[in-house]
């Protein structure tokens, strides 16, 4: 039976309507980069709560460890040393899922129900339904989802949907020592951001601003940046992110064309055509389908 403490807005590859009656509060996480010390408490708390343990890696000449996101590391701090107008800045950005209002991962996901967007704004992966095709990786404008080496499925930050569902804040938010990460309604977070931007402007950061990019319909993880005019300074945060043209193309033009072209193709073979999905995953999906059939 579905657990309806979080209402679903939409599901990947699903045409059936989601419930529409309830209108829960839209939530957001605000990351104030200007008060982030890059301590990695959020990284550790995330892994602790979600029971993830990346391998113990190596130092590669910078503070970044783990060096990238993975199925075992859903958020990482990215450090960049930047000199602007002779002044050194150590810009540290917590990287992870942005929980887009218009999620490229969900749109590109071919597996029904593997990616869910709740009405509160959280975009969640349900690995039970993931076929490991990697399309969410392609579809994500922020390069966030990662395929697990263990089970071939895609993983990313869930914004601690299990905690949010019972009224708690995400683990990273709670643990943040300096209060650089906040959580609340999107409206409140936007207002808080405005106050932070005002403070930064009073300290000489003329281009301080909120990062809530319109290209993906806005996000439910937002940044306060001292240099909002140059988000690339923060380890390559995209200036104007948008969903990959390939996803747009699929949803726009190709879908009907392809539907026509492939109408007669046997369903099973489609899965084998998916280059990144291993056969066994496909089999698993088929079994799921058979199970559904049997009901």
């Amino acid at each position: 039976m579905p657990l309806q403490s979080l209402d679903i807005k939409r599901r990947s590859a699903t045409t059936t309507e989601s419930t529409q009656a309830r209108t829960p509060i839209e939530v957001a996480k605000l990351i104030d980069v200007s008060t982030c010390i890059g301590c990695k408490a959020c990284q550790v708390a995330c892994s602790e709560w979600n029971e993830l343990r990346e391998e113990v890696g190596e130092n590669i000449g910078v503070y970044d460890n783990p060096t990238d996101l993975s199925a075992q590391a859903w958020t990482v701090m990215r450090f960049s040393e930047v000199e602007t107008a002779g002044k050194l800045e150590w810009l540290i950005r917590k990287d992870g899922c942005m929980h887009c209002a218009d999620p490229g991962c969900l749109k590109s996901c071919p597996s029904p129900g593997a990616i869910i967007q709740y009405k509160n704004g959280i975009v969640d992966f349900n690995e039970e339904f993931c076929i490991g095709c990697g399309y969410c990786v392609t579809g994500c404008p922020f390069n966030i989802p990662r395929i697990s080496k263990e089970d071939g499925k895609a993983y990313k930050c869930s914004l601690c949907s299990d905690r949010v569902a019972v009224g708690q804040e995400p683990a990273c938010v709670k643990t943040c020592p300096t209060g650089a990460i906040s959580f609340g309604s999107k409206e409140d977070m936007t207002e808080l951001a405005a106050r932070r931007v005002e403070d930064l402007k009073s300290r000489g950061y003329e281009n301080a601003g909120l990062y809530d990019p319109a290209g993906v319909g806005g996000t439910h993880v937002m940044y306060v940046l001292h240099h909002a005019d140059k988000p690339e300074l923060y380890s390559g945060l995209r200036k104007d992110p948008s969903i990959s043209p390939m996803v747009s193309l699929w949803k726009g033009v190709t879908k009907p064309l392809a539907t026509l072209a492939m109408a007669s193709v046997v369903l099973g073979s489609l899965f084998h055509y998916v280059t990144k999905g291993p056969n066994e995953v496909s089999r698993k999906v088929e079994e799921e389908i058979e199970k559904e059939d049997a009901q």
Binding site: A41, L88, F125, D240, T275
Partner: protein
């Protein structure tokens, strides 16, 4: 589909991509089209796991912020469920941490379940290369036998003058600064009862200088304000520390201050994580802080940024100093070059007939402190500062101006510092300089002000309070010295100061009450007036056996045993190679620890990390597994003096026992041996009071109550003879009731009030903010639940707050009252002229510290023992501190700037805690491998690139590590020469789940702060070279 700017470029899609997109998309959609919509698409993919898990409240075991944690264990507490801890997160009720935890705290779960946790008693037999599991019975009886044999052979009953000294020097003990106060106080009784004088704790290697500097300035050696109070500052200076990195959750209150408009400046050898959120960063050469701060004093005086009303009333600026005091060519008056010691007799006040200090309120007298101060720092001009520190003049002036702005009563500045100031041969004087600045600015006693020493370990404040240091006793009483204190009378006379000003409250005047009550705790009924309360049984010291001295004695083969309780000495002591050789000469070593450490495995070969031959090491090593924080009840003291009680959440792994049980069993076994066999100087062991319900396992509650103290007889009310302040057997409400006639027993007078007839005050959890972020109902703070020390000084001479917005207490016409407990005699009207610093017999803060410190009454810049300049431009004849104690062999190992041209400095990273968290997987993941930080200019010169392997060497040893090449360590110009610094994080070794590395202390010099022997880890000389892969 949303429109975006990328859409302006026509998407380039190949045929192959088109086909892939279509196929995959259709595949999924096809399923849905055909009716396969996921009926079981659960909302919240994962269900909440804590719904009925048992929740236990505890305090983080790492640093001294003392964050609250909630531990969740499997099962709901039912009898049949074994309480395995499965998740730990922050306690949102905690007034400091408010639910937050740093990466160490957030990873506590992996500490509790670390693969390095010890489970069974083990022994490593002499010459063996492996551990052997043994029973507790065997472990305790073998250790007791070793101790008895060594003590019988070596304890000194009387010295040459016939003074009973009960001194057992051939075995030493190290106490654990993450253990509870209850373990700590039992350790005090255990060790002094045996006659141990070579006993020390981590405070020796970290904040020793804080105690000496702050006590010699203000009267108490502790952080003056509290964590949350930092938010009340207008200006925050972070220097000599890296609060964001070492105390991330405490640092939140600096960020909160910033959000309220405060400015934050960081002065540090490297642009660190604190600097990343500061308004300004100013680089400095490690080891030149007194030049910088002395320059600030000079600037404040020259620019008249002095809070005059405060300085004249509440400091010793007006006091007249004895004739004969001088400072010339780098030396204060009274120096003896042969002994490297000062005769401090001229460094004191001129007294009148009544024994009171002569003053000159007009400040005209040439020998009044103000004029001496002005003259002393006139040499520290901005140009000199720039030349010796390498700090740019504009950066230096920015700090001066920001501090200077707080000289008005309505602006307050604070300082956050830690080991960046303490770990120098001039460590105490670094801190003294800042203490003087804060007095000049009127920032002591003020909310948002103070000198905030950020202590390192979770209970190092507690262990300092409990006197677990070579020459200390609980409550900052001193351990009797054989020369100065041969008798009780001599002790009390020497340690009870006389009042130096009219009508001044001189709290140390109560020393006899504190000391006699302590004796009654040590010796119980055996302490009588007739036997001077057992004074003769107390061990008496001749020299200070700090960790550097202990290592020297071990290296010379003069010590046989070492008991190491939760202290990774092999990693923490200077010159690790010497330390290892010293341990190898011991007959026996006893480790009590929850974790495997480098100390317990010093005899194991770990390749280049520890290249030893076990067969040649004859030390018998016992390793006894102990509980960790999560598995015990007890209290620990955070940096702002809060005693917070914590609760046990699970059973320890394997056969691990609490420290209290281990000490209890060991003590009982030893006492039984003395009862059965007799032995040398048996009386103290037979007479020490060990009246616990189970002598083999004293409980935290029993011990906490002993620290608080109780009435041994009815205590009459002196104002009303028909009444009693306490009845016989009752717990005391506070230290004011302590008596010097043997009618009270109290282990730790400053903790009196922590567990009263009203219950355990340390367990209080009322987090109500009564104003200015003060939460007096949360836990309990020593002394007397005061949250901001010297708070009388937050008011002017008339008892009116200097700043109405910062009203802590005020004189209301009858008494002092407000939102904090007055640090003052509550009914002493302002008109009495009583001054705020009640722990100083003169009642005022000391700009001139008189004879309290061994190396001078004013701080002076001396180069580190290993100076990168090879000279001291201020006085070339006296380069480094003349009062430093250096052992011959250690001096021979000092390197010079020609062979080792770069300044090395060690420090912590936020991802790790000392040498523990390399055994904690979550932290090992976050920062897996040893590295050093090298500036871009030097890296280029040396051909070192990002991520290369490098070898860093000093004249004592080397480490190999990865190179982090960074803009954040800038090349400086010092004494007109280029100067490079190399940053050396200290967290690695050969034990744990992080990548194997080297003890950073292989590089450091075995020399300490002149006053406290805290090692000089923050400035020493190294070289660096690129090496090929390791």
């Amino acid at each position: 589909m949303s429109q975006n700017k990328d859409a302006a470029c026509p998407p380039v899609v190949t045929r192959r991509q088109f086909f892939k997109i279509s196929a995959a998309g259709l595949g999924g959609t096809g399923v849905a089209l055909l009716g396969f919509s996921p009926k079981d698409a659960h909302a919240e993919v994962r269900q909440y796991k804590l719904l009925h898990a048992k929740e236990t409240r505890n305090t983080c075991t790492y640093c001294s912020v003392g964050c609250g944690v909630l531990m969740y264990s499997i099962g709901d507490g039912a009898f049949n469920a074994k309480s395995e801890i499965m998740h730990i997160e922050g306690d949102p009720d905690h007034p400091v941490s408010r639910g937050a935890l740093c990466p160490k705290g957030a990873g506590l779960l992996d500490f509790v379940h670390s693969t390095s946790r010890l489970k069974y008693p083990e022994v490593r037999e002499p010459g063996s290369s492996e551990w052997k599991r043994i029973s507790w019975e065997e472990a305790i009886s073998r250790v007791a036998r070793h101790m008895k044999n060594d003590r019988d052979a070596n304890v000194i009953e009387k010295n040459a003058d016939g003074v009973p000294v009960n001194r057992w020097l051939s075995t030493g003990m190290l106490a654990a600064s993450a253990s509870s106060n209850e373990t700590g106080i039992l350790t005090q009784k255990f060790s002094r009862g045996m006659g141990l004088v070579a006993i020390d704790a981590q405070a020796r290697v970290c904040h020793g200088p804080t105690v000496s500097a702050l006590a010699s300035s203000f009267g108490r050696g502790a952080m003056t304000n509290s964590w949350v109070d930092i938010r009340n500052a207008d200006f925050i200076l972070v220097m000599g520390g890296n609060a964001a990195e070492a105390h991330p959750v405490g640092f939140r209150w600096a960020i909160e201050a910033k959000k309220r408009g405060a400015r934050l400046i960081v002065v540090d050898p490297r642009f660190n994580r604190t600097a990343s959120v500061a308004d300004q960063y100013v680089p400095i050469r490690a080891g030149s802080d007194i030049v910088f701060l002395g320059g600030v004093i000079n600037w404040l005086i020259k620019n008249d940024k002095i809070q005059w009303d405060y300085v004249k009333a509440f400091t010793n600026a007006t006091s007249i100093i004895k004739e004969g005091y001088s400072f010339d060519e780098g030396l204060f008056s009274g120096f003896n070059a042969e002994t490297s010691k000062y005769d401090q007799s001229t460094w004191n006040y001129e007294l009148d007939d009544k024994g009171h200090i002569k003053t000159d309120p007009s400040l005209a007298h040439p020998r009044c402190v103000w004029n001496l101060l002005k003259a002393h720092y006139a040499r520290y001009t901005p140009e000199v500062v720039n030349d010796l520190t390498g700090s740019p003049v504009e950066g230096f002036l920015a700090v001066c101006k920001a501090l200077g702005e707080t000289s008005v009563p309505t602006k307050v500045g604070t300082i956050l510092y830690a080991l960046g100031w303490t770990q120098h041969t001039v460590g105490t004087q670094n801190i003294r300089t800042m203490a003087m600045i804060q007095l000049l600015l009127g920032n002591i006693g003020m909310p948002g002000g103070g000198v905030n020493a950020l202590r390192g370990h979770s209970n190092i404040q507690g262990l300092s309070d409990l006197g677990l240091l070579a020459t200390s006793l609980p409550g900052y009483l001193v351990l009797p010295n054989e020369k100065s204190h041969p008798t009780l009378q001599a002790y009390l006379t020497a340690t009870t100061p006389k009042t130096l000003a009219d009508g001044q409250l001189n709290y140390w005047g109560n020393t006899p009450k504190f000391f006699v009550s302590l004796m009654k705790w040590f010796w119980g009924d055996k302490a009588t007036k007739e036997n001077d309360w057992g004074y003769n049984w107390m061990p008496k010291w001749d020299k200070m056996y700090d960790v550097i001295h202990m290592t020297e004695l071990m290296a010379q083969g003069k010590m046989n045993g070492l008991i190491v309780q939760g202290f990774n000495a092999a990693a923490s002591f200077p010159d690790s190679n010497k330390v290892n050789a010293a341990f190898s000469k011991l007959k026996y070593m006893v480790i009590i620890d929850p974790l495997a450490t480098e100390t317990s495995t010093f005899w194991q070969n770990h390749g280049e990390s520890n290249d030893v031959d076990p067969s040649k090491i004859q030390t018998e090593v016992f390793r006894l597994p102990s509980t960790c924080f999560a598995e015990e009840d007890g209290s620990i003291v955070n940096s702002s003096r809060w005693l917070q009680w914590h609760w046990k959440g699970a059973e320890p792994p394997g056969e691990a026992k609490s420290d209290q049980e281990i000490l209890g069993e060991l003590f009982v076994a030893l006492r039984d041996l003395y009862r059965k066999e007799g032995g040398k100087v048996a009386d103290p062991i037979l007479n020490v009071s060990w009246a616990y319900a189970d002598p083999k396992a004293p409980t935290p509650e029993e011990l906490a109550k002993e620290s608080n103290g109780k009435a041994l007889a009815d205590i009459p009310d002196p104002n009303d003879k028909t009444k009693f302040l306490a009845r016989k057997g009752e717990l005391l409400p506070g230290f004011a009731l302590l008596q010097d006639d043997g009618s009270t027993a109290c282990a730790t007078w400053i903790f009196s009030g922590s567990w009263t007839q009203a219950g355990n005050q340390m367990a209080r959890r009322d987090n109500t903010d009564v104003g200015l972020g003060n939460t007096p109902g949360w836990a309990w703070a020593w002394p007397a639940n005061r949250r901001i020390l010297y708070n009388r000084a937050s008011c002017d001479v008339n008892g009116k707050p200097w700043d109405a917005k910062r009203k802590l207490i005020a004189w209301n016409g009858e008494k002092w009252a407000g939102i904090d407990v007055p640090d003052f005699k509550v009914d002493a009207a302002p008109a009495t002229g009583m001054n705020p610093f009640i722990m100083n017999p003169e009642g005022v803060g000391r700009l001139f510290s008189c004879d309290k410190l061994v190396d001078g009454p004013f701080p002076e810049h001396y180069e580190p023992m290993e100076s990168p300049l090879g000279t001291n431009p201020l006085h070339p004849k006296v380069v480094s501190s003349p009062a430093a104690r250096v052992f011959k062999g250690d001096r021979e190992k000092f390197g010079n700037h020609k062979d080792f041209p770069y300044v090395g400095t060690t420090y912590r990273l936020t991802e790790h805690f000392q040498f523990w968290t390399k055994s904690v997987r979550l932290n090992a993941i976050a920062q897996p491998q040893q590295f050093v930080e090298i500036g871009e200019v030097l890296a280029k010169e040396k051909g070192i690139s990002q991520g290369d392997w490098v070898k860093v060497s000093s004249n004592r040893g080397f480490i190999k590590a990865k190179a982090v090449v960074t803009k954040r360590i800038m090349a400086l110009t010092v004494n007109k020469q280029p100067l490079h610094q190399i940053g050396i994080p200290l967290h690695w070794g050969w034990i744990g789940v992080a990548k194997k590395g080297y003890l950073a202390n292989r590089l450091t010099a075995s020399v300490g702060d002149c006053n406290t022997q805290t090692p000089e880890y923050k400035a020493f000389l190294v070289n660096v070279e690129k090496i090929s892969g390791v």
